[in-house]
């Protein structure tokens, strides 16, 4: 089974802190994605990566950056956390040849105070 793990299930940070959300997949997938999930808004794509050191902006990249130094790991970085970044963050991965089949991590619920 494909396994996508996220470093934390719950995280509480203060405004202005630098926040790292880590995602690891164990199936050698080329594509990795970061979404945020908010009630009434569904899932919105923040960034995705189709290869090591490659990244593409999604719909809402402002205030976020990403890092993909190794194929299995995709990090989401909040350079200076703000209260409007309080949300559920979901990571997903897929094969390049099967991008339509995404596997999701359990999510990280981030609260910024």
């Amino acid at each position: 089974d494909v396994k996508v793990t996220q470093s934390s299930r719950y995280l509480v940070k203060r405004t202005g802190e630098k926040v790292f959300l880590e995602c690891v997949q164990d199936m050698d997938h080329e594509n990795m994605f970061w979404y945020r999930q908010d009630p009434g808004l569904g899932l919105r794509l923040i960034y995705f990566s189709y290869d090591v050191k490659m990244k593409e902006k999604g719909d809402i990249p402002e205030g976020y950056s990403v890092s993909r130094e190794k194929k299995e790991r995709f990090s989401l970085i909040l350079e200076s956390a703000s209260t409007n970044q309080t949300s559920m963050y979901l990571c997903a991965s897929s094969l390049w040849t099967s991008v339509e089949t995404q596997y999701f991590g359990p999510g990280t619920r981030l609260l910024v105070l």
């Binding site: 996508v4 594509n31 994605f33 979404y35 009434g40 808004l41 569904g42 899932l43 919105r44 794509l45 995705f48 189709y50 593409e56 999604g58 719909d59 979901l90 991008v99 339509e100 089949t101 995404q102 999701f104 991590g105 359990p106 999510g107």
Partner: protein
């Protein structure tokens, strides 16, 4: 940007009955995929069913089936013989190229 619309924020169904969740989408592309994902409470999101736009036949996975109306850009999910374990948030999504677009979700309650 493409949009995916789920007009039913909440739905409920009696156990063993059938329920249909609605989804419409907006795309100008001819090649795309459509999906229904399930997110149980406090659990990971998983794929329920997918449909390739070029296929006319509606996809079916056990008790889950879709009604894909390409001209109307409609993609509804039918759950037959509903079970308590079907209670979850359901998201409709479309994929064009490398980008997914998700609807706002429908919360399904199954009544014993």
């Amino acid at each position: 940007a493409q949009t995916v619309t789920q007009s039913q924020p909440e739905m409920s169904v009696q156990e063993a009955e059938t329920v249909t969740l609605s989804c419409t989408y907006d795309t100008s592309e001819s090649d795309y995929y459509l999906f229904w994902y399930k997110q149980p409470p406090s659990r990971q999101m998983i794929l329920v069913i997918r449909q390739e736009a070029y296929k006319q036949q509606n996809a079916t996975e056990n008790r889950f089936s879709v009604n894909f109306q390409k001209a109307a850009k409609s993609f509804s999910l039918k759950i037959s013989d509903s079970q308590l374990g079907d209670a979850a948030m359901y998201f409709c999504a479309s994929l064009t190229g490398n980008q997914f677009y998700f609807g706002t979700g429908t919360s399904l309650t199954v009544i014993p």
